[in-house]
Symmetry: C2
Subunit: 281 residues, 2 copies
């Protein structure tokens, strides 16, 4: 695969790159960012995957996430993909809404027309992009972890639950934990996967746990002043499912914080330290 | 003066606000950001002024500057003004260039038509905005410091040199140190102040020092890979002037870094610690 370097900037003694490639999964050009901290020649570093939320590209967390300082200190590679295919000919929401289509891939492989040809973000983030990263950057595929924000928190939790042997840690900021039960998720999963709800369960963290999926433990932060908390996020559903299943969950309500990157950036270092402890050795 | 709160977000245990007001100086609506860390009721905190570079608004450093974590730890209020008047009827560069007019006020009070009516950024950042901040936020006017980036580094150095008793510390990232001697500055000072170069000297850090202005010391970082270094920034001119005048200057070349916020954010904490040490007590 050919990888085009869009930009490279030295930051916190490492290199923040933005790259572009033509994806076999989405059949579009895809852009992602990757931060590689300073390291000894030949070293292979643990890699943290960050999945972004609705409307975001790689750029939101790259500019506002405040992750580089901690990644530099902890020796972590940080990869941030886009949230959907984009470009000419890629179908979006018929009404132009922000919560479906462009910027809202929900980390699934769509089965429904007209989305099935391009909206293959599940395979993109779990298969194609890991292969690309492993081929071009100094990462240790045996030491991976994943986190995300909002829709990307949904992505991180579902990916971890379906690949518990691949990711040593998983955490989320303000995740959608049960998309089958909330408006954003019902619209997205219905639109991409069709009306048969049985197909949704593999893309719903709470349903996956109910169906027997397990993971070593989650760290989840949400803001007490998050405007989406009670209708779209519903962290209590994850708490209930984890308790029933015996999955360790550190669920923290951060009083006064909202859904924005002002919240994410505040607790990013905490999450990265939690990941680093599980990626060590 | 009426102050409109555009947004407020909790971050790093403090509050990041964006505010708007109608400026008596620029005769336009002006937007600025201010971060107030958590503090005891009734406390008045030291305040750090941050002046931004060409093309920037308050938003660039607010989103990309990575200052909140350190300000929260050190107990510093951080204020970021816009870089020029904006809006309907405000004249810009006749050719639409980025280095003059909108987004490029150069922290002077223009004397030349058609700019003199609105381009009064010197009085705005040294007089009107400090008064507004003191009236609405818990700051200690006896403990102020100033820093800036590029054109804003020029602003920070000249403001400090002209008010050495007001600011306890001054520092800069990649500053324009001698605008009278470089293309950006010659265009801007000529356009705003006219062709008589005697009027430029009060807005040129190197000339101010040559003319007898003094300050307790500066911290200046620049990137070794900064594309503007040799033509526009020329830190060696500041070094020479400070040496001649006996002004302590900590001038650091950071190898591999460019002119971007990836550079600024890397060394922001360093600068804020340097300011905090001088603002203590």
């Amino acid at each position: 695969m050919t990888l085009e370097t869009v930009s490279q900037n030295r930051s916190h003694e490492g290199v923040q790159s933005v790259c572009r490639h033509v994806s076999r999964e989405t059949r579009t050009a895809m852009t992602f960012s990757v931060f590689v901290p300073a390291h000894e020649a030949g070293a292979r570093l643990p890699v943290v995957w960050y999945l972004s939320g609705l409307t975001c590209t790689h750029a939101n967390v790259t500019e506002k996430g405040e992750f580089r300082r901690a990644c530099a200190e902890l020796g972590l590679v940080f990869v941030a993909p886009d949230t959907s295919p984009r470009g000419e000919g890629v179908p979006g929401d018929p009404a132009g809404a922000y919560d479906f289509g462009l910027g809202a891939g929900f980390y699934v492989d769509a089965t429904q027309p007209p989305f099935a040809d391009n909206y293959r973000m599940w395979s993109y983030v779990t298969d194609e992009l890991p292969e690309l990263i492993a081929g071009h950057f100094p990462v240790d595929a045996g030491r991976q972890s994943i986190l995300g924000h909002s829709m990307g928190g949904h992505g991180a939790l579902t990916v971890a639950l379906r690949f518990p042997g691949r990711y040593r840690a998983a955490s989320a900021f303000s995740p959608i934990v049960a998309p089958s039960q909330v408006p954003w998720g019902i619209k997205a999963l219905g639109g991409y996967l069709g009306e048969a709800r049985s197909a949704w369960r593999r893309h719903d963290a709470v349903a996956l746990i109910e169906d027997g999926a397990r993971f070593s433990g989650f760290l989840v932060d949400y803001g007490g002043a998050d405007q989406f908390l009670t209708e779209q996020l519903r962290p209590e559903l994850l708490q209930h499912a984890c308790t029933q299943a015996g999955i360790p969950l550190s669920l923290r309500c951060q009083a006064g914080y909202d859904h924005s990157y002002y919240f994410v950036s505040t607790f990013m270092e905490d999450h990265l330290r939690w990941h680093a402890a599980r990626l060590a050795g």
